[in-house]
C-alpha cells in the first residue's frame, strides 16, 4: 500500500523538519538529576602517557566538585571514552555518548586528528564541546562552530612563545635542525615554527628536517647526523616516550654540548627523565602551569591542586592534567553563568553554548578568555631547564611569560598568514620576565 501526500502536507512536513530542532532547543530545559560529561582521552597506545594522567585529574576534580555540591547544585558524572582505537571509532562513540548515554557536555580530545574529525559533531548533535587538549590551529581558523570552544592555548602560541624566548636568549643562532614525530602535530608545529622564524629572523639556515616514524624507539642515526651537522639549535616538539628516548640517547652522546635544544612540550617528560635532562635548554609546557610557577594568581588554589594530585597519585601533575582541570573550571564557570542568566532555571544546549562565548574563567595561575571564535587565550611560560632542591626533576629558570593574546593569531586570520606578518621588533616587545 502506498500513501500519497498532498503538496500542502509535503510543505508542512518540510517546514516542520526544519523548524523542529530549533523549536525543541528553545523549550525550557529540565534540570537533570546529574550532569553527565563525555570525556574522550587516550587510555591506550603511546599517547596514554597524557590520557591516563588527565583522566586521573578529571576524576579527582569531579570528586572535589561533587563533595562541594556539584555544579549549579547537581552532581557531575564523567563517562570516559578511549581515543586510542582511532577517529572512526571515536565518532561512533561520541554519537553513543550523546544519543544513548545522554551526556550534557563533551570534553574532547588529545589528538588534533580526533578534534578535527569530531568537532563537526557538536553542530550536528547540538552539544557543547569543550576541546580540552588538542592543539591544531585549523579547528577555529577554518570553520566557525556554535557549540565548540577550546579551553586552553593552541599550537600557534605554544610554538611561537619558545621561538621568541630563543630569539631573546640566543639571538645569534644561524642554523637549525628539527626532529619531530611524523604525524600532524610534528609537521604542523614545524610549519608554524619555520614561518615565524623566517619572519622574525630571516636567513637562518635549516640544516636538517627529520620526521622519524611515530612511535620510534631509537634515534641513534638521527643523533649521529645531528652530531655531524652541529646545528646551533635543535627543535623537537616530540613528547612521551620518544622525547625521553631522544634526550637520553642524545645526552649520553653529548649532543647537548654541541647544540641548544628547544623542547616546547618538554614538561610532561621531566619527571621521567629526572636528572638525565641536561641543564640550560629551552623547555615549554603548553601553557603557564609549571609546578614551580613563581607567581600564580591564586597560590593557595594552585598548591592545593598540585598537592591533592600528588597525595592521591604519588606523582606531580603534568600539563594534560592542568588542561583537563581548565576544562572542568570552564564548565563550572560557563554553566553557572548560563544558569544565572536564566534566573536559576536550567539552560538549553544553545543557551549553554552562548554562555561560553566570551567567557573569562579563572585558573589558579591566571585567567583564560574564550574568544568570539571559540579559541582560548592561555598565557605561555618558557624557561631554561635547571635543577633545584624542591623538585627531583628539571624545572624552568629565567622564566618568561608570553600573554596569550600576544602569541595567538587574531580572530579571522589563519596562523600561517599572521606569522608571516610578524616583525623582528616583536622579539623585544613580546613577553616579560617573571
Amino acid at each position: 500500500m502506498t500513501t500519497t501526500l498532498s503538496r500542502r502536507e509535503v510543505i508542512a512536513a518540510g517546514f516542520g523538519a526544519v523548524m523542529l530542532p530549533s523549536t525543541l532547543s528553545a523549550q525550557p530545559a529540565q534540570k537533570p538529576a546529574e550532569l553527565k560529561i563525555g570525556v574522550t582521552t587516550f587510555l591506550s597506545g603511546p599517547a596514554s602517557v597524557f590520557g591516563v594522567p588527565s583522566r586521573k585529574a578529571c576524576e579527582m576534580l569531579i570528586d572535589q566538585l561533587n563533595a562541594a555540591g556539584g555544579i549549579a547544585g547537581i552532581p557531575v558524572r564523567p563517562i570516559f571514552v578511549d581515543e586510542g582505537p582511532g577517529t572512526d571509532h571515536l565518532v561512533g562513540e561520541i554519537r553513543r555518548l550523546v544519543q544513548s548515554e545522554g551526556v550534557h557536555v563533551l570534553f574532547q580530545s588529545i589528538s588534533s586528528g580526533s578534534c578535527l574529525a569530531c568537532t563537526p559533531l557538536s553542530r550536528e548533535l547540538q552539544k557543547v564541546n569543550l576541546l580540552w587538549d588538542c592543539g591544531t590551529q585549523r579547528i577555529f581558523e577554518e570553520n566557525r562552530w556554535e557549540y565548540a570552544f577550546r579551553t586552553q592555548g593552541y599550537g600557534t602560541s605554544e610554538v611561537l612563545a619558545p621561538l621568541l624566548y630563543l630569539l631573546k636568549k640566543k639571538p645569534d643562532f644561524r642554523t637549525v635542525a628539527v626532529l619531530n614525530q611524523d604525524y600532524a602535530w610534528g609537521r604542523d608545529s614545524w610549519e608554524l615554527w619555520k614561518t615565524a622564524m623566517d619572519a622574525l629572523k630571516p636567513g637562518v639556515r635549516v640544516v636538517a628536517e627529520m620526521f622519524p616514524r611515530f612511535g620510534s624507539t631509537d634515534f641513534s642515526t638521527e643523533i649521529t647526523r645531528l652530531l655531524a651537522l652541529r646545528p646551533d639549535v635543535i627543535l623537537s616538539t616530540s613528547w612521551g616516550g620518544e622525547l625521553v628516548t631522544f634526550i637520553r640517547q642524545a645526552t649520553e652522546r653529548r649532543l647537548h654540548e654541541r647544540s641548544m635544544f628547544v623542547l616546547p612540550v618538554a614538561e610532561a617528560s621531566m619527571q621521567i627523565l629526572g636528572r638525565s635532562m641536561p641543564e640550560g635548554h629551552i623547555i615549554g609546557t603548553r601553557g603557564d602551569h609549571w609546578n614551580n610557577h613563581p607567581a600564580p594568581k591564586d597560590p593557595a588554589a594552585f598548591n592545593a591542586f598540585i598537592n591533592a594530585y600528588r597525595q592521591r597519585f604519588n606523582e606531580y601533575p603534568i600539563y594534560p592534567c592542568h588542561h583537563m582541570a581548565q576544562a572542568v573550571w570552564a564548565l563550572k564557570a560557563g554553566l553557572e553563568k548560563a544558569v544565572a542568566a536564566k534566573g536559576g532555571a536550567w539552560p538549553s544546549d544553545l543557551e549553554l553554548a552562548n554562555a561560553f562565548r566570551g567567557l573569562t574563567f579563572p585558573t589558579p595561575t591566571s585567567t583564560i578568555t574564550l574568544r568570539e571564535d571559540g579559541q582560548g587565550l592561555e598565557d605561555q611560560i618558557v624557561g631554561l631547564s635547571s635543577f633545584n632542591d624542591r623538585f627531583p626533576f628539571a624545572v624552568p629558570k629565567e622564566m618568561m611569560l608570553f600573554p596569550g593574546e600576544q602569541v595567538s593569531a587574531p580572530v579571522g586570520q589563519k596562523s600561517t598568514d599572521w606569522l608571516k606578518t610578524l616583525q623582528p621588533s616583536m622579539i623585544q616587545s613580546a613577553g616579560r620576565s617573571i
Binding site: 611524523d182 622519524p212 649521529t224 655531524a228 628516548t245 640517547q249 649520553e252
Partner: protein, 311 residues
C-alpha cells in the same frame, strides 16, 4: 659518482655504523618470529608483545637489582636472564594453552587468535607497568662512549650501540646456525620445518618440537626487547611498532631462513640509516621498498625455497 662519494663518504661511513646497530636489533626480534613461523606455520602477531614484555621485565628487574646495590656490570647479564625468564614462562604457557588448540584451524583464525592475544598482553603491560615511560640505562652508561673520527671532528657513539647490539646479533646468528645444523634437536627442528608430515611419520614428536621452538622464539623476542631497554623509553605500543618490521623481514627473508633474516635485517638497517642521512622522508618506507623489490623478483623470499604443492 666519485665526486658524490668524495663529498659524502664520511657520512656514509657513519650511516654504516648506525645501520649495523639497527640491523642487530631488527634481526634479534625477526629471527624468533621466522623460526616460529617456519616450524609452527603460525603468523604470531603476539611476538611483538613478547618483545615488549621482555623489555619491560628487563628494565624492572634491572631497576630492582640496582636498588639492591648490584654492580653496574651485572646489568648486562641481567638483560639476558630477564629475556630467558620471560620466554621460559610465557612461551610454554602460550603454546600449550592457546596455540596448540588452533594448529588445525584456518590461517585467518590463527591470525585472529594471536591478534587477540596481542591485545590482551598490551593491556596486561599497562596494568603491570602503567603508561608512563620506563627506562633503565645502566648497561648503556656503564659501557660509556667511544669517539669515532669524522674528518677534523669526532662523533661520540655509545659502546653499547656500536658493539653490544651487533655483537649479540652475530652470536645469535652463529649460535643458532650451529644449533640447527650440528645438534640433534636442531636437526629435528629443521626436519619439521622442511616437511612436517614426513618428520612426524619418522617418529618425531611434533608437539614437543612445537613447544620447544615457540619457547625459543619467545626468548629471542624477549631478548630483542631486553637489549633495546637500556637505550629506549618503554611505553605502551612498542610491541606493535616492532612486529610490523619483523613481518617485513620474515616475508623478505623466506620461511624459516635464519641467514636470510640476518641479510634482510642488515639490508633494512643499513637502508634506513642511509635514508636518514640523505633522504629522511624515505626512512619509514625503505624496509618495505626492499621487501616489495625482493618479493617481485623472488616471491618465496631471498632464501626461501619454492614448495611443491602436494595433492
Amino acid at each position: 659518482m666519485a665526486e658524490w662519494f668524495q663529498d659524502n663518504g664520511l657520512l656514509l661511513g657513519l650511516a654504516l655504523l648506525d645501520g649495523l646497530s639497527s640491523a642487530g636489533l631488527i634481526f634479534l626480534v625477526a629471527v624468533g618470529l621466522n623460526l616460529v613461523f617456519g616450524v609452527l606455520r603460525i603468523v604470531n602477531v603476539a611476538h611483538g608483545s613478547l618483545y615488549a614484555i621482555g623489555a619491560y621485565a628487563a628494565a624492572s628487574i634491572g631497576i630492582f637489582l640496582a636498588g639492591l646495590g648490584l654492580p653496574d656490570w651485572a646489568s648486562i647479564p641481567t638483560l639476558i636472564l630477564s629475556a630467558a625468564l620471560v620466554g621460559a614462562i610465557l612461551g610454554p604457557l602460550i603454546e600449550r594453552f592457546l596455540l596448540r588448540r588452533i594448529y588445525a584451524q584456518e590461517e585467518v583464525v590463527q591470525l585472529l587468535v594471536t591478534f587477540a592475544l596481542f591485545m590482551i598482553l598490551e593491556d596486561v603491560q599497562k596494568l603491570v607497568w602503567g603508561v608512563q615511560p620506563i627506562h633503565h640505562e645502566t648497561a648503556m652508561k656503564w659501557l660509556g662512549t667511544i669517539d669515532v673520527p669524522f674528518g677534523a671532528d669526532f662523533i661520540p657513539f655509545t659502546n653499547y650501540q656500536l658493539f653490544v647490539l651487533p655483537g649479540f646479533a652475530i652470536i645469535t646468528l652463529v649460535g643458532l646456525a650451529w644449533f640447527l645444523r650440528r645438534t640433534l634437536t636442531g636437526r629435528v627442528i629443521v626436519a619439521v620445518t622442511t616437511d612436517r608430515e614426513a618428520a612426524t611419520a619418522m617418529g618425531i614428536d611434533a608437539a614437543k618440537i612445537f613447544l620447544l621452538t615457540f619457547t625459543f622464539g619467545a626468548m629471542l623476542a624477549a631478548l630483542g626487547g631486553a637489549l633495546s631497554s637500556p637505550t629506549a623509553a618503554l611505553v605502551p605500543g612498542i610491541g606493535a611498532q616492532t612486529i610490523v618490521l619483523s613481518f617485513a623481514v620474515v616475508a623478505t627473508a623466506g620461511l624459516g631462513q635464519i641467514e636470510g633474516a640476518a641479510l634482510t635485517s642488515l639490508m633494512m638497517g643499513l637502508g634506513r640509516s642511509v635514508a636518514v642521512y640523505f633522504e629522511p622522508e624515505l626512512e619509514v618506507v625503505v624496509p618495505y621498498i626492499i621487501m616489495v623489490l625482493v618479493l617481485l623478483v623472488r616471491p618465496q623470499g631471498l632464501f626461501g625455497v619454492t614448495e611443491t604443492r602436494r595433492v
